[in-house]
């Protein structure tokens, strides 16, 4: 490993958060880094790379991907190709009938719209509240703000399920049962986003805000013209995690919603399941699963770095 090879395709060898390059021991050139892939495919390594590296990697990816692929394919199969002792991988007679059937069993357009509205409004307000609360905790000096932060931290530990029954009674008393705002309201208080953004804001250089203060900018302007813009990546992370959680939220909407036209997608699919699973109409159920899974999968594929960072927060320090 003494020769130093330079490569132009550095992008394939390492991703941005990736490993530090292998330090070469005797390289004469400055800061030599051996590209990982070049090393991986050297003749003496190629067997280890394939058997010890790619084989388990491919198996893992297959185990993860196969159910999702099976879902997508089955959603386009007619019932006869699903209730069969020897199924084919590819639909012989592809059809979109399953999607039409989902729309027939539940008011699909309405349910999908409900999910979009609940997710957008819920996540929007939550992120806004997280930003303002975190700003107040970090930059507005009032006595007792650390105690308040501790209170928010403890709220982070309360599983929403433990608050479900009393919230059900509260929302019912307010007339929010079986309404969209009844789904959104109890989840609006945000501990997670506040916690994350407070950390981010505390890490900002103080001069940044002090300069604005000397310029006579009030808190509101300091927040929106300085603190929020420079913290945009953290805010995006919080927003994405919140959106995904709102979209997938199931237990609370299940409890508070009765009529199909007020259901969100997961609750509508639960209804669909209770109608269809006895009959073995899995094509319809797979079409339903596609509708709730694929939007998140697309968002995740595009913005995975932010989402992974947000969800594994606390682990990587």
């Amino acid at each position: 490993m003494s020769t130093v090879t330079r490569t132009t395709s550095a992008a394939t060898s390492r991703d941005a958060d990736g490993a530090p390059g292998t330090p070469s021991t005797t390289g004469p050139a400055p800061a030599p880094t051996q590209p990982e892939w070049r090393r991986a495919f050297r003749r003496e390594n190629v067997v280890a790379t394939l058997v010890g590296g790619y084989l388990p990697l491919v198996i893992a990816v297959l185990i993860i991907a196969a159910p999702l692929v099976w879902m997508l394919i089955a959603s386009f199969k007619p019932a006869s190709e699903i209730v069969t002792p020897d199924p084919t991988l590819w639909p012989q007679d592809p059809t979109s009938a399953n999607y039409a059937l989902v729309a027939d069993r539940v008011p699909l357009a309405r349910v999908f719209l409900n999910s979009v509205v609940v997710t957008a409004v819920g996540a929007g307000i939550k992120v806004l509240l997280a930003i303002t609360t975190a700003y107040a905790l970090v930059f507005v000096r009032v006595p007792g703000r650390n105690a308040i932060f501790l209170g928010i931290l403890v709220a982070l530990m309360v599983p929403p399920e433990a608050a479900m029954l009393p919230n059900y009674l509260t929302i019912s008393a307010l007339g929010g049962r079986d309404t969209l705002w009844g789904i959104v309201l109890p989840g609006l208080g945000t501990a997670f986003g506040t916690f994350l953004l407070r950390q981010q804001f505390r890490a900002l250089p103080l001069e940044l805000v002090e300069a604005a203060e000397l310029d006579g900018a009030g808190h509101w302007r300091r927040l929106w013209s300085i603190v929020a813009p420079v913290s945009l990546p953290a805010i995006v992370t919080v927003a994405l995690v919140t959106v995904v959680n709102e979209w997938n939220n199931f237990l609370w909407p299940l409890v508070i919603i009765d009529s199909p036209e007020n259901m969100t997608l997961p609750v509508g699919l639960n209804l669909l399941r209770s109608i269809e699973s006895q009959t073995g109409a899995y094509g319809v159920l797979m079409a339903g699963a596609v509708l709730v899974i694929v939007p998140v999968l697309l968002v995740f594929a595009l913005l995975q770095r932010h989402i992974v960072a947000g969800l594994t927060q606390g682990a990587v320090k």
Binding site: S13, G18, A19, T22, P23, E36, A40, G53, Y54, P56, A60, V61, I63, I64, M71, I82, T84, D86, T132, A136, V140, V142, R145, G151, I152, A155, M157, V158, P159, E161, A163, M164, L165, P166, L169, P186, L188, G189, T190, L223, N248, F250, L251, V255, P266, L269, R273, S277, Y282, L285, M286, A289, I293, V296, I307, V308, T312, G314, A315, V316
Partner: protein, 315 residues
């Protein structure tokens, strides 16, 4: 040259100036107002929908009360006694323990294996990492539906594979033990990618010279794993076990979709739901379960926070 001292940046020492004092007081109260305007709504919501429910649950848990009934009898700790002594209560603890233990160990072990492969930094690693993590962000309801189809004894993918191997498919939906195994498998599938990504971050922060030193000393890959990597992963393993326990104990979507009646899969969360909103409508008993769940999760989190506090500068 006589130099007049530069005026101090701070204002002159406070004198008995009533005007200034009033200005100061109004500045303070303006600051309080700003704080309330910015943080108040969130704090009010957290009080109303997290703290208030916590307190009222404690009260409800002392009642024998059917959801929707106008009257209720105070029964003291009878609901708690039932949870810890009745056979159904015992079953809830047994299922919760098995489910939590199996899913935590399963996703942590498989996650570690995946992370070790990802740590080889082969080309395509980023894609593989993304793919493996993906199920973690997907709707539990959607995931439950997919696996319902796969586990279907008559026409599911798993049944086809088993029959091709000359076996017959057991009925996963009816046998309580198999139902529990089934939801554990699905839950591990959904969560192992999370563990893998967290492990990977831990692995990649291990200084390369440590591994090279071990290599020079003649340590093979296995020896490197057990003598260098795993010991250094200690904090990661601890963090993961806590977060996995927390999320496993709150798992609901997959259980509800795959086993709607909770036959063999009624973990404590599921039981809270079934008791108050299922057929039983026993709000008081359900509240007692919620209180116990909160206490358990609180203790687990508190242990973690203590630990994180001490270990945050570990490396």
């Amino acid at each position: 040259m006589a130099v007049t001292p530069v005026a101090p940046a701070r204002p002159a020492p406070r004198v008995a100036d009533p005007d200034r004092r009033r200005r100061r007081r109004s500045a303070t109260s303006r600051r309080h107002l700003t704080f309330v305007l910015l943080a108040g709504p969130n704090i009010a919501l957290i009080l109303a929908f997290i703290y208030f429910p916590l307190a009222s649950n404690v009260y409800y848990s002392l009642l024998d009360w059917r959801l929707g009934a106008r009257t209720a009898d105070v029964v003291g700790l009878a609901n708690y006694v039932e949870l810890f002594t009745s056979s159904r209560g015992f079953d809830v603890w047994r299922v919760t323990l098995i489910f939590t233990l199996a899913t935590v160990v399963g996703s942590m072990v498989l996650g570690l294996l995946v992370a070790l492969v990802l740590d080889r930094n082969l080309p395509g690693k980023t894609f593989a990492r993304t793919a493996v993590f993906a199920p973690y962000v997907l709707s539990g309801v959607g995931v439950g539906l997919i696996w319902l189809f796969i586990f279907d004894p008559r026409i599911g993918l798993l049944g086809h594979v088993l029959r091709a191997l000359g076996q017959s498919s057991p009925n996963w939906f009816i046998d309580p033990t198999l139902a529990l195994v089934m939801v554990i498998v699905v839950y591990v599938w959904k969560n192992l990618g999370y563990c893998a990504v967290v492990y990977l971050a831990g692995l990649q922060s291990i200084p390369k010279d440590l591994l090279e030193a071990a290599q020079l000393d003649g340590a093979g890959p296995v020896r490197q794993l057990f003598s260098v990597k795993l010991p250094l992963l200690g904090p990661t393993v601890f963090f993961l076990s806590v977060t996995c326990i927390l999320s496993s104990m709150q798992a609901f979507d997959i259980l509800r979709i795959m086993t709607p009646t909770g036959n063999g899969t009624n973990t404590i969360i599921f039981e809270i739901f079934l008791q108050s909103f299922g057929a039983y409508q026993r709000a008081g008993y359900s509240a007692a379960l919620a209180v116990v769940l909160f206490v358990v999760l609180f203790v687990v989190t508190a242990v973690q926070l203590r630990y994180v506090e001490r270990k945050v500068h570990y490396r």
